[in-house]
Symmetry: C2
């Protein structure tokens, strides 16, 4: 796997989708697939698929196609899904609770260890056996328990403050749901889920589609 | 605004971020900004910003910079935020409830009209004054009320079925939280929020960062 050099984020962002489709195939007992058939399922061109997978190593054989389990395992490796990640959620509001209740993440190795909130009415309550703790315990908890990933679900104005606490106590990655861009040092990575921005992309697309239709009706 | 031709999704995806930063500036009574200062705030290069905005028209003046309110309004126009969108949520589970409780969307014109679920225990309950209805009413509700956007928060296996009902009753756009790619006809647009994929991108980034650090320690 020494091929990996300067792989674009566009390629990286496609890998979880490959992983999802390959998992479905495994569930359906499909054990090999041509890049053409994979292309039809996943909606990328066959040449795109070959290019993408070539970034990471030599998968697939001429005339045979891809071994689904091997490819699934390899992509899982690339995505870092071969280990467990300790995660915590900060902010037990709507989004925080929804994420805490989402069991799908546990299955791929993201284990929820703690939930933190500033609201004393929530502390002591449990979501899926995980206790909601007071935000004052956040700093020592992260440090003592070697938490890998902090999931930030607090309001925008508190997000950077929470982020700083996480970073100062050794967190490696931040999954950020607050509608703000966080400042982190170089050794920490962030991934944002900005729901408003996604919804605005949708409204853009709706409007463009309508304009196109109006044009074609003229 | 006749400049708009073949604008890449990468540019489109950046527009909501401009919108968010410009809104913050308006809130802080900043009424003009140079592309250099905007660049420092938003983290894109000044030349990227000029290029992005040039796709849509002539914003900004040499030596003056951008008028914040004009640019905010123009980007809002491009994003289609000048009208109201009637939205409904299908699936009142964790994510559906979280989205229903999120008031931020209303402020930019996305108005929640109805929530639908298959679970009879939930029907009749309300989230923020919006009643949860039985899924059997979905089809007629969407048709009668001219709903613009359907927000799909049902489990993966039901998502395409729900999507088909929405599409057959005239929905224009689908905001999809189910971990599946939906098939829609050409006149309907979709925008996905695939949380697992976002989390896998984060684990990829964490692993890459660790590999880099191990290399540099050698």
């Amino acid at each position: 796997m020494d091929k990996k050099k300067n792989i674009s984020m566009a390629v990286i962002k496609r890998l979880p989708k490959y992983h999802r489709y390959l998992q479905e195939m495994l569930n359906n007992d499909i054990d090999r697939i041509s890049s053409k058939d994979l292309s039809e399922k996943i909606g990328f061109t066959a040449s795109q698929i070959r290019q993408d997978l070539n970034c990471f190593g030599d998968f697939g054989q001429q005339g045979y196609g891809y071994n689904v389990r091997d490819l699934y395992t390899a992509i899982g490796n690339i995505l870092g899904l071969t280990r467990e990640y300790k995660t915590i959620i900060v902010g037990a509001g709507n989004i925080g609770q929804a994420i805490a209740n989402y069991t799908r993440f546990e299955k791929v190795g993201f284990s929820l260890q703690g939930i933190f909130d500033i609201n004393p009415k929530l502390t002591g309550m449990k979501i899926r056996d995980v206790e909601i703790r007071d935000i004052d315990e956040l700093s020592s908890y992260v440090k003592t328990n070697h938490v890998d990933i902090g999931i930030i679900c607090v309001p925008r104005i508190n997000a950077q403050k929470v982020c700083d606490i996480l970073v100062n106590n050794g967190i490696k990655g931040i999954w950020n749901f607050a509608p703000v861009d966080l400042n982190v040092p170089e050794d920490v990575v962030t991934e944002n889920v900005h729901l408003s921005e996604s919804l605005m992309t949708l409204s853009y697309l709706i409007n463009e589609k309508e304009k196109d239709q109006q044009k074609s009706e003229k």
